[in-house]
């Protein structure tokens, strides 16, 4: 069983919901990511989504785009992201790590390091799953097969505009968990309509048998708690980025721990 699957089944047995924080690798300081990941686990994170910075993040809002630009200016590329994961794995062999990003840096890695290098190297570094925002199921069959062969999960998004047909298609290739984008818009935008999410989840579960996480628009304990009542996991990204974007080095990890503890408590209540 993959680390992601075993994490979710353990949580299910305890009747708890997964907390999945997102942070852009190398943000806000190039060297802080492994420590930040450990801090997140300490605060109760069950899975960590690590953003791979990209120059043209079409599906992200201004907060995550700015974080990506900062990380890029600090020289963070795929090689450094994998280094972060390797470093994290030295002291943590249980918490799943999911890389989240765009197709081009992944494909470029293979162009530079040889066919199949990305999947091989990320598996070796200790990555458990991959979410490529601009890889829809029909464009990544070979990639999905290669990930499966290395025991990694391919995580897909679903959106309010997804049709039942589409959900079925995603369900066929998705593994690990499915990430429901709770609103029409980019990351960090708009207010979350929890009633709409509540209505959507039963529809998704008609097609998807793996856990369903909800993200985009979860900002605080109250929204996390409301979403936790209907979903298997809550994903929090832009809010964490905002919290740490202007902080000095020493405060980044403690502030994140503090914030996530509040969310964890609300989720478990």
């Amino acid at each position: 069983m993959s680390r992601i699957a075993s994490t979710f089944s353990a949580l299910q047995a305890q009747g708890r919901k997964a907390l999945i924080p997102y942070v852009t690798a190398g943000f806000p300081f190039a060297d802080i990511t492994p420590a930040l990941m450990h801090g997140m686990v300490e605060a109760g994170a069950d899975v960590i989504e690590l953003g791979v910075p990209f120059s043209d993040p079409m599906a992200d809002g201004p907060v995550i785009q700015k974080a990506g630009e900062k990380a890029l200016s600090l020289g963070i590329g795929m090689v450094q992201v994998l280094d972060h994961v390797r470093e994290f794995r030295k002291r943590n062999n249980t918490t799943p790590v999911v890389l989240m990003g765009y197709a081009n840096p992944v494909e470029r890695y293979d162009q530079k390091h040889g066919e199949g290098a990305f999947v091989r190297d990320s598996a070796a570094a200790g990555v458990d799953g991959v979410l490529i925002v601009d890889y829809p199921p029909e464009e990544c069959e070979a990639f999905a097969a290669s990930l499966r062969a290395h025991g990694m999960d391919l995580i897909f998004l679903l959106a309010p505009t997804s049709t039942d047909e589409r959900m079925a298609e995603v369900a066929r290739v998705a593994s690990g968990y499915v990430y429901y984008v709770s609103l029409k818009g980019v990351t960090g935008s708009g207010a979350l309509d929890t009633a709409a999410v509540e209505q959507m989840l039963p529809r998704i579960r008609q097609h998807v048998t793996i856990p369903v996480g909800v993200g985009f628009g979860i900002r605080d304990a109250a929204t996390a708690q409301a979403i936790g009542k209907v979903a298997d996991a809550v994903v929090i990204g832009s809010r964490i980025i905002q919290l740490i974007e202007d902080q000095e080095h020493a405060k980044v990890v403690p502030l994140t721990i503090d914030f996530l503890r509040g969310i964890r408590k609300a989720l478990d209540a």
Binding site: Q65, P136, E138, T163, K184
Partner: protein, 427 residues
Amino acid sequence: MNSYQQPDPSGHFGPYGGSFVSETLTHAIQELREAYARYQNDPEFLAEFHYELKHFVGRPSPIYHAARTSFEMGGAQIYLKREDLNHTGAHKINNVIGQAMLAKRMGKPRVIAETGAGQHGVATATICARYGLECVVYMGAEDVKRQSPNVYRMKLLGATVVPVESGSKTLKDALNDAMRDWVANVDNTFYIIGTVAGPHPYPMMVRDFQSVIGKECIEQMPAMLAEQKVLGQQPDAVIACVGGGSNAMGIFHPYIPFEKTRLIGVEAAGEGLESGRHSASLQKGSAGVLHGNRTFILQDDNGQITETHSISAGLDYPGVGPEHAWLQEIGRAEYVGITDKEALEAFHYLCRTEGIIPALESSHAVAYAMKLAKTMRPDQSILVNLSGRGDKDIGTVADLSGADFYCRPSCQGQSVKGGEQPIKVVK
């Protein structure tokens, strides 16, 4: 090449094209595919499209024999397809009419667009005024400064222009922001993409709408060549500038089966193909995924999109339509580069010799045609797609020439892309 049938049903041109979008846009793309499939061969739709092209745009655009230029080059006869004579001043309007007609039929009251030089934005604002659609145009903040007359034109036509401050503040960033707007407003909004790029069906659909250019040429050239007593029914070479590549695809596509006609796309070589400051994706880029399709892009070793450079805002884009990548791969089209300096020289030459002020984009195609003509015989012929007129560029040119002119960018404290030093122009 008679069997050329591209793209395949899922939008691929060989390994290029496709649909690389986030899940939120998948439904909108699917809706558009269905709408286009329904109308692309619909007689009523096509009749309206051609009516608009004739009566609103002023088609067919003529082909003009650049006799003085041809004589001075001492080689092949150069002909210009006069897309610059279209209403709104460029080929962009052809495609915009087709997409706006689809928006109307799909019941989408709001239209968004991205623009570089502003020609696509102006065309979109124009059609939205004509059809009563709300219009929002995304434009890189850098381009807003470079192309202020076009920004004002869009506003006069009732459009909202949104300056994009992210990234390199040029066309690619405008495209990202337009995509984001589309994701957030997908229910009531139609995204009119201005070039043969983006997720399927855009590259095919924009090509189809722009193919009116090449189809007219195939009709017009035999009579033109006979009149000039030049050999052949069709030109020996067809030349067009390539940024995203819509004017080039529009004139190339109908010519693909005419194997004796060379198809030559001219990319912006900026300060030189080896300088690192250019926009030549096909010659200096590599395969990658950007803006919803797989194509040739300019990128670094980490797969980050690199900044581009061209004197011409319309060519200043780090990608290119996927069908061009395919035409290059199968050898049906060739791609070459023209520098800022060469383009500017051709711009001035055409003004003085033919009485035509070409867009800086089109000046790249003219410059290469003038080079190529010298290597050919006088009984041979070259057809250049003069994709747009240069009114929008006179401020930029004035600045580069050190001329005093009231609305040149330097009046507003902006520097002009295309060189820090004024380029000396032979007067």
